[in-house]
């Protein structure tokens, strides 16, 4: 069934057991929505110099957008900002491929679990769901890099 290419087990697992969900202390916070469907995410990043030490989030949305935030947390926390940006770009490339891109080994190495989203790229209406958290992360990171750190109280 074609559906299985979108709803891979890996995706359903992340959806049912999201990694890193919840809001914790961070250097910058953003709120993104997908006007198409109303999915929403509040996301914070915590950096330590060049390193992404935490991505925390509160979100509401479909399995795809939930799973994708969980995978984001998995892949990016612990990386340097530069490495993480490369992961983000690769994920973006995969999602914009309209199902025409067969992830190669190099891509699999970068994206790990996230290659499971290849099937989603065939469904234009869902691509935005998959990208919501990634776009929010990129935005929050840019903010964190340009701003003074958020004091703890504000993060509460």
């Amino acid at each position: 069934m074609k559906l299985d290419s979108m709803y891979q087990d890996i995706i359903l697992d992340h959806y049912r057991h999201p990694h890193g969900k919840g809001l914790r202390d961070g250097d910058a916070e953003v709120h993104h929505v997908n006007p198409t469907c109303g999915d929403e995410i509040t996301l914070r990043v915590k950096l330590d110099g060049e390193k992404v030490v935490d991505i925390s989030y509160e979100s509401q949305g479909c399995s795809i957008s939930q799973a994708s935030a969980s995978v984001l947390n998995d892949l990016v926390v612990g990386q340097s900002v530069d490495e993480a940006m490369k992961v983000q770009e690769t994920f973006l490339e995969l999602m914009q491929s309209k199902g025409r891109l067969e992830p190669d080994e190099a891509m699999e190495e970068v994206l790990e679990d996230a290659v499971a989203f290849a099937g989603v790229s065939k469904y234009p209406a869902r691509v935005k769901c998959a990208l919501l958290s990634w776009m929010a992360w990129k935005d929050a990171t840019a903010k964190a890099l340009s701003e003074a750190p958020v004091p703890n109280e504000e993060g509460a």
Partner: protein, 418 residues
Amino acid sequence: MTQLQGLLDTEAIRKDFPILDRLVHDGKKIVYLDNAATSQKPRQVLDALNEYYERHNANVHRGVHVLAEEATALYEGARDKVAAFINAPSRDEVIFTKNASESLNLVANMLGWADEPYRVDRDTEIVITEMEHHSNIVPWQLLAQRTGAKLKWFGLTDDGRLDISNIDRVITEKTKIVSFVLVSNILGTVNPVEEIVRRAQDVGALVLIDASQAAPHMVLDVQSLGADFVAFTGHKMCGPTGIGVLWGRQELLEDLPPFLGGGEMIETVSMHSSTYAPAPHKFEAGTPPIAQAVGLGAAVDYLSSLGMDSIAAHEHAITEYAVKRLLEVPDLRIIGPGTAEDRGAAISFTLGDIHPHDVGQVLDEQGIAVRVGHHCARPVCLRYGIPATTRASFYLYSTPAEVDALIDGLEHVRNFFG
């Protein structure tokens, strides 16, 4: 499949709609339950469009040649048809717009630029409801921001009805306009027009009714509604995209200022000043949606040939059946009235904690087209504490078998995410 009373002859009707034979996802016949978003178009409407373009196309008005005269007669003839369809006292009260959203914005803008006694400005109030479509919220938010007027609204009861228990406090002497939806596109609720109109008239406020989800489905009689303006949209009532209607009372259309300026809406223009044509032309700047009006005229003919009462009866039977069957689905919660009384044929629901996007996706795989999301009525989702709903909506060609397909599909959804 069940034997329901009052159904139309859908077997014959469905032959008029080529798209209903469309196969999707490896040969499944489409089950189109997204009619509140837009309806499908019968052959008769497509024929009218083709006939217009292949034989009569010209710009309207201002022309002395055969095509221009024919195009004008067809365009103005469509206005006659729409006027008759809504029982307008005069054809000149029917304004063609591009969609219901433009119709609603048109009224908001007219009132913002109007002279007294209609002018909305600081110290006046605008009243809407919490179940409005965004197209009947945002224009009023913009008007309120730009004029300093205050925006107020009626809330909702837990079972998806308008809460008008506080009507005397919501609609006051300061109210200039009350704008509300006749049939909600998300809840399906049919609203109590008479009580609201009476109170508005008592305080001298104008009333605008958003009939976008009513015109396709029931007899719409602007005189018996008693409102000052009624807006609706062509594409939901078997007509083409790109055409909407605003009906307004003649005296008001005479008194109120124009909105868009340009060709067709003028009487005489000099560089220094211009005067405007009488309504409806005053409100139709530029080349109108000519073919689309002609198509809407054909749609109105089509609906009338079936009879709006018969269409309403058909949909009522389908809705009653659908509500009953949906309530049998475990974990399913209807957002909106839980019976078929005073409700239209759009039924929103949630299914456990499966997100509507996922519900819609799995239904789609089975060829069943429903809409998911906030349906341009996000305040309703906020009100009921849900992110979104799945909405199945029926029309004159919907069958009990399609309801059954939906129920089976939902079973499959539950298994998939179970």
